[in-house]
Amino acid sequence: AQSVAQPEDQVNVAEGNPLTVKCTYSVSGNPYLFWYVQYPNRGLQFLLKYITGDNLVKGSYGFEAEFNKSQTSFHLKKPSALVSDSALYFCAVRDMSWGNTPLVFGKGTRLSVIA
């Protein structure tokens, strides 16, 4: 079975500092990996995905993530945090080796960027 772990419930960072939101995954085959962001009273918004190819994936709003197969990680990063980045972030995985499997989400990490 596939699973996602987001080890931090909350991440606090000062505006202008780099941020990292951690994600590790478990699948039996090869993964498709996604990051979504959720603002209050709004649906999840797609940020970026890793399917194949370059391990460093660039996405919306200056976010990027690095796929590390040996560590089974897909951490979300941004070089300089903005107060407007404060939101709930979800990592998700699909096992591409098993055909039509659904997205499995982590529990989410709340990012708070302090001015």
């Binding site: 996602v4 498709y32 996604f34 979504y36 009273n41 709004r42 649906g43 999840l44 918004q45 797609f46 995905k49 399917i51 979800f90 998700a92 699909r94 591409m96 055909g99 039509n100 499997t101 659904p102 997205l103 499995v104 989400f105 982590g106 529990k107 989410g108």
Partner: protein, 116 residues
């Protein structure tokens, strides 16, 4: 263009009542998904449609949950005889591609269901 819309945005139901939640996907999106998001948790898969065909309903928690998409566009998630444990945000998502492939899913704002 317009995104995924859901209605109602908020629903309060008394235990034992039936509820119906509506999802309007992005026009032309073949795939439609329903998720349940409990407080403090990530979304959990309920069911998946490709056009009007329900291809996966493995995540539906009980036979009180029923979903349909009769014309391959709008979908309705129905919960019969609601229980307090059904209280959650119900998210709908659509995707351009067939199957549950590498394409990202676009989510609606959700319906927050509270069962009292």
């Amino acid at each position: 263009g317009a995104g995924v819309s859901q209605s109602p945005r908020y629903k309060v139901a008394k235990r034992g009542q039936d509820v119906a939640l509506r999802c309007d996907p992005i026009s032309g999106h073949v795939s439609l998904f329903w998720y349940q998001q409990a407080l403090g948790q990530g979304p959990e898969f309920l069911t998946y449609f490709q056009n009007e065909a329900q291809l996966d309903k493995s995540g539906l928690p009980s036979d009180r949950f029923f979903a349909e998409r009769p014309e391959g566009s709008v979908s309705t998630l129905k919960i019969q005889r609601t229980q307090q444990e059904d209280s959650a945000v119900y998210l709908c998502a659509s995707s351009l591609a067939t199957g549950l492939a590498s394409y990202e899913q676009y989510f609606g704002p959700g319906t927050r269901l509270t069962v009292t």
